[in-house]
Amino acid sequence: MTRSKGCTTLARLRYITAEAYRGFRRNLLLAGSMVIIVAISLTLFGIALLAGKQVNLWGGYWSDKIEVSVFLAKKITPQQRASIGNQIRTLPVVQNVFYESQAQAYQRFKDQFRDSPDMVRNVTPTVLPESYRVKLRDANQFDQVHDLFCSGKTDSRGKEICNAGIDSVVDQRKLVERLFAILNYMKVSFLVLAAVLGAAAVVLIAVTVRVAAFARRKETQIMKLVGASNTYIRLPFLAEGVVAGLLGTLVAFGLLGGGMYYLGRVRHQVSFLQLLPIAGVHELYESYVVLLFFGVMVSALASLLALRKYVRV
């Protein structure tokens, strides 16, 4: 009993896949467009997701860290180091200050990039500058720290002229805020694009499934007459839409994975990006799960929508 039941299930599965394949063959152009549009909309959606993850990643990294870095020059005397420290501490706007030596900077760097041993190998403690890390009571009062040490004028090489022993004073927050703004802008615009294309994908899938149902209306009519269940009649059409959605999702996976891989390679050539944590394989896989869910759900819903109106008892 159980065995023959298994046989029918298998036979049904074979029937459904065969029918879905037939549907694809019959209309390669439509099937191809379904796959492409799903792939594009999901890729855009994936980019938006990853940009969002990147914001969170950086947000977490910076949220309770320093707001101003006073990088010290390579040639600095112990007296200069001490006096700079005192100068910072006496500023009323400063909440707290700590000194980070080259060794400490190297340690932090190693922690941050434990996933990229290549990078760690290429960096020695002497390359990283020592610094005072300053947290302000009011983050907007950056200028007070800056003006204490630097003139705002630049030398012939475009570098800001600062007091002896100071390399530069950097408002980390500003740097990050600009990046956040770019990422957020990217996230929103890609989400909007993804939504528009996603809607187009839904319509295209619904139309394709409807065309398939129309092309086979005689078969479905006979199926209904002899008492085939709704599920049995609809499954092949549903499968057609979902398979297209699935293929599109896989293409999107490939595009995103490839893009991330490429970005990972480029990152090594952009110095400032090397110091920041970047969304990696883990975030990519997280996005894959979301994309798979959307790819399958959206195509299934679109197909069902089309079938509700068309293949009805």
Binding site: S4, C7, I222, K224, G227, V313
Partner: protein
Amino acid sequence: MIKLDHVTKVYGNEVIALDDVSVDIGKGEFVFVVGQSGSGKSTFIRLLIKEERPSAGRIWVAGKELNRLASWKVPALRRSIGCVFQDFKLLSNKTVGENVAFALEVIGARRHSIDRTVPEVLKLVGLHDKADRFPHELSGGEQQRVSIARAFVNRPLLMLCDEPTGNLDPTTSQDIMKLLERINRTGTTVVMATHDERIVDTMRRRVIELEHGKVIRDQEQGVYDLG
């Protein structure tokens, strides 16, 4: 087997297809539903397989009240009804055997029972040697036999035939009627909508006559036309 209780069917808002029809058809009966085109014969049939819902009144088929039948139970109802139409409704890309087997496949029958049942029913309709032919290679009468085979392959309690001889010449029609009579003798109720006078007059079975959606005659061993 079939009971209609004050059934009215209105299409849109004005086209009255059936008007207050009450009919009782017992198990194993052979009934003709006659009337001119547009008298409501096809609507009568469509209501019985729940392809349409009545605008008013209640319908019972095989002990089930159709108004109360959940839509997911409709397929089960249709499995107990065989349908035959004027235009055969065969799939042209399938052979005779495959067309009949299709009816069993789509309700999830097992392969070995399909392989056993299909030749049996093809033999019953006299087409056992044509199982591998395609519908277009057959005559109209033969195609209608295939569609009867497909309708009967589930051993339904009820056969509904909507003008089954409408496309056939008189001699072929007689053969089809003999076949339907044989099916009726197995205990299957047969309801046949037709406007073929000759057939109705020869068979002398119960006749229900419709005119403008009303039953104007319901007669045992009737003829097509009283006038």
